[in-house]
Symmetry: D2
Subunit: 192 residues, 4 copies
């Protein structure tokens, strides 16, 4: 889905290419229960909700403007299988049903606690994290090392042509690290 399709405010939005890769890494099933933590404008949440017939997306967002935008985008796309959860993770996750897919676009500095809780609620949840800061990237790798876990880590940097007169100038976008944690990977592969 295109970035222009979404209603945006001043809230940062995951760019369409990063959104596509992140959702692809999540490997949504038709009936997945999904958290979108730090949902921002709701672009990832809405695109995930639209992709599932029977699944449900919980969009966690602590900023008021974010919650309002998610609501507007939900309405704009007529999405029913999405619940906006105002508040801060991991606190607000406690009363939600366990997720089997978790996207973390923002963690408010609470990444280890969020990962702990998500994995406690469902040890085999697949988790995809977008890190745009060096500190978040460090927090992820430190967490993995501490738990003796492995994950797929991919960085992606795009550029987009912008017309200037007769010329197409390539405009660089911010690089993003996409980390995918699949706790049951070994098991599933062994079982094939």
């Amino acid at each position: 889905m295109k970035d222009e399709a979404f209603i945006r405010g001043q809230v940062p939005m995951t760019k369409s290419e990063v959104r596509a890769v992140s959702i692809s890494k999540l490997g949504l099933c038709d009936n997945s229960i999904v958290y979108d933590i730090g949902a921002g404008t709701g672009s990832v949440a809405v695109e995930m909700a639209l992709a599932m017939g029977h699944g449900h997306v919980y969009a966690i967002e602590q900023r008021e403007e974010g919650c309002r935008l998610i609501g507007q985008n939900q309405e704009h796309f007529g999405v029913r299988n999405l619940t906006i959860v105002p508040g801060k993770a991991p606190d607000v996750l406690k009363d939600l049903p366990a997720a089997d897919r978790v996207f973390i676009g923002g963690s408010g500095g609470e990444l280890p606690k969020i990962l702990d809780l998500v994995r406690e609620k469902n040890p085999s949840a697949r988790i995809v994290i977008n890190a745009v800061s060096l500190e978040t990237l460090s927090a992820v790798t430190e967490y993995l090392r501490g738990k003796g876990m492995e994950a797929e880590i991919v960085s992606i940097q795009t550029a987009r042509a912008k017309k200037l007169g007769d010329y197409h100038l390539m405009e660089g976008q911010n690089p993003v690290y996409i980390i995918t944690i699949e706790p049951d990977r070994g098991t599933r592969e062994a079982g094939q």
Copy 2:
């Protein structure tokens, strides 16, 4: 879908991140008729076929090894809505039903003729091209300029962590240009 999920030979394969972005740009409908031109291992074709309930993918590939691999991947994933079309585009496209979505992963130097034919068969086909060579990129921009057409042009370069002892080294992947042509873009947007 993961790269490791596919059967591969010596044939180059579109990497999972580029595949995810490219398919996202195509905006498949549930019943799209799709060409995958230069289908290679069939990874893009299979992933597109799996994503559509009632659509159909025609995987065009001129190399024998490619056609064999596509067949193996088709069987491996139990995909029914995919037809392998051995031969060279644009020739083999002539007898196929018109496509509304076209992915071009390889054009064998015939990009202008392929684009002409695809657009003649369906002027409103959405077309996504992957260019990994400077010559293909030039051929695309020259074609667009010649026809007075605009397209979205995005470059994407990824790197992937590789474990070496206790260290994660980031290994650079080849950059790819993803060009999206939407002939009816203006119309549709005006009609909203």
Copy 3:
């Protein structure tokens, strides 16, 4: 040299990393005669002039604001071995002494004529081109193909950490193609 060291206006400036790589590719000698075509703010010209004890840099720039900025930067750094040449290449190159090193940061759509003249004046000039648009990149590869010449072509995309609270966000910069033409490469290497 740092970007902040230079006086800048609204004129686009080659970023320090791209400047360092480009000057490195030029392989300046202590007494090189250098053209900087499309000199912009003069950052490349000044850094080259400072690097040479006995060489000379001709900074060609057609915009008045550019020429003014080059002059200010020249004065700021106390550079003597630099001549500002107002006007448009290739015209203004005709009366200049032949260059053995040529940097092309902007060509005003006249790249083939500029390359022809530069090479006519000195067939063994080493030439480094920065291409930020797809059209310039195409023009370079088309020229090389037409002349049966080879060149080194490198793309470079950087990102720079920006402090936001306690976080370092990586901000993407525009990708640049750096093309290096060394007409006498074979000869020199054969002669070693």
Copy 4:
């Protein structure tokens, strides 16, 4: 300088573009005392030595093959102002004269101790670090945070055209983080 100019074994070599940017960030003076820690093939050390008339480079390398290659490259380029220091940093740094410029291409897991010693010997040394692993990047940012220091952090990813028949394919290189520490930056700028 070109990568092909250097004698290489199986030892990893800093690529020419990253070398150019790193040396540029160091801001060598004509008489700088420089450490190259983790000197590898000696490509950075040799290029720095050649750039200075009266300075001196100490190339620290713990692997025997590395030391041998540095020696070969030193001889190949006729470089006199370079001393090979076999052994492991920070231990072998203790008896060396204090450096005012330090390049760290490899730290053998001892980055904090190396930085401590280098800065103890000369609090105003300018330090440039190349990080190719996430762990080294984390170690740098953690060190800086612990000391309340700021640094310039830049990532750079290049791709290089490779001829395949009539096509130029862009081959991705590994991304590198280049971190520049200038302890006296504030002072100098305040003093201008």
